[in-house]
Symmetry: C2
Amino acid sequence: MSYLKKNHEILISASKNRRRNRRENRIVDFLEKRFAGRSASIIKGVGDDAAVIRQQGAREDWVVTTDMLLEDVDFQKAWLTAGQLGHKSLAVNLSDLAAMGARPRFHIVSLGIPATIPDKWIVQFYQGLAKLASAHKTLLIGGDLSRSTNGIQVTITALGETWHRQAIYRSGGSAGDVLYVTGTLGKAAAGLELLRKEQTKGATASQKEALKAHKTPNPRCDVGLWLLQNHYASCMMDLSDGISTDLPRLCSSSNVGAEIYPGALPIFSASKSWKLDPLNLALNGGEDFELLFAVPRNVAAKFAEAYPKRFPRVTRIGILTSSKGIVLREASGKPARHLANGGFDHFN
Amino acid sequence: MSYLKKNHEILISASKNRRRNRRENRIVDFLEKRFAGRSASIIKGVGDDAAVIRQQGAREDWVVTTDMLLEDVDFQKAWLTAGQLGHKSLAVNLSDLAAMGARPRFHIVSLGIPATIPDKWIVQFYQGLAKLASAHKTLLIGGDLSRSTNGIQVTITALGETWHRQAIYRSGGSAGDVLYVTGTLGKAAAGLELLRKEQTKGATASQKEALKAHKTPNPRCDVGLWLLQNHYASCMMDLSDGISTDLPRLCSSSNVGAEIYPGALPIFSASKSWKLDPLNLALNGGEDFELLFAVPRNVAAKFAEAYPKRFPRVTRIGILTSSKGIVLREASGKPARHLANGGFDHFN
């Protein structure tokens, strides 16, 4: 969950999207200040990947998140099967729980569908959703089903449980902490570009991989929980909008800046042969749903050694700094550049 | 929450809506059987107004519900101010909590809006929502804000808490229990008819009252909690779709039938002078968001006496019966009629 939205169009029209982002940022800042609930039972309210609420006498806190997927904004019906949409709708919510180190427990599904959608589509939507739910042991407890005159809309609320009443927030990072990401960056965005070129099946193994990353992302709940249980991560979030948009959010919450090494980023280099720019996609492409987190410097070596081989690879991509702003620092001695929200400018 | 939807159009095209209802009923029955989660921690899953989940060691259970309002299906933008839509979106969710006897605690708001909607609209939406939230002591803990290319969509998830781990379900009724409703029936539907005739302001006090009932319904949380705390209600639900649709659901859950006395229904008789049929609206009109509940016969007199004067009026409208189906029984000795889902047929 965030009050800020996945920006598919960033690759097509960065300036338009930056405008939208700024508008949304501004509205959300205002809404948060003005309307966010405050109470001893709200451990974390709006402004992180999920909210954390405490109930009197309970051993664990609840972690609650919601995400909406709208046809023509977040997906094209022709690009996803019903089952893939079901999977993806739940996955984006579980990714928010993963980003807090929470364990998925329950979910609620609201589905608005045009009258022309056949029953079979609805059942397949729920099948795709149920398969991912089962893998993550989260249970369907209810929802809403409505006809819609305006395309397909899915809104899911996911409830997770803390482990020992702990959660990892965006705000816990300090200057000097080492930045990591899981998996590969820009792979889902490369998949989206293939869909835009109507290459919906993929001709090669890499193309199929990119399409899969876009259509059926895997929330990193196991990694998030492991990081929490082993006290490695000082701050964490999931990458829904790309590093250039998400890292500034993490830094802002932690009141730090960051330096990242573009050469070290786990880019999806196969996309180069499709005339895409893997680094641009890694920085600015959305929907990777990988985890971005920081580890205090003094435990970074221990963390790197202990990180389980069964998990997706983890890559050290930079550090948090006391000076604000995000700087891209090339290893080769090229001049450093500032990373702007939704893109990057030359350092001046 | 229910997997079944408010049917505004019932007044215009009952047959079309009955068809939609049957389709939705069928899909939802299937989804419930196939996909509903089962676990000791799920006290009540899909199939009631809200779900009830239990956390180890917690003193109270959580009651969770979600409802979606879609432009052009659930509302027309021209008919509601932003603040009224904010109020109504939360109200329909709180009404589900009221129907369980739960106390509202937290809510999460997902809002999809076209890019043409000004900031002011968004802020007024949240203001209207916040005012009702404050009256019911529920706190905003998060949400999602997205641009939409397909009209305005609101999905709210509300979390409530039980009182002494108790909730009132649809399923607790027995033959012989006395049926009651709060407030007036068919008032919101009369308001909707005025809007359809573009009488958006209302010329008389009654018209203004009807418009208010439609635009800014008052969830009956105080009545629901009082009924629970005093152990009066054997079963309960909120009236979102009208008695002719909702009472069969209550009866089906409780495995009973019902007899109702049309002459006793608290109809909104002012609507007669606007060339509307108050009884038809009371039976078939949606969105009253009043409570429908049953009280065991042996405590009905005590209940009627104890019912607080500060609450909206309560009316005895019939009884639950062991024979299935809903029968309309006139006091005057006219022949009884069967009430069909979404309308009524002559008894045969």
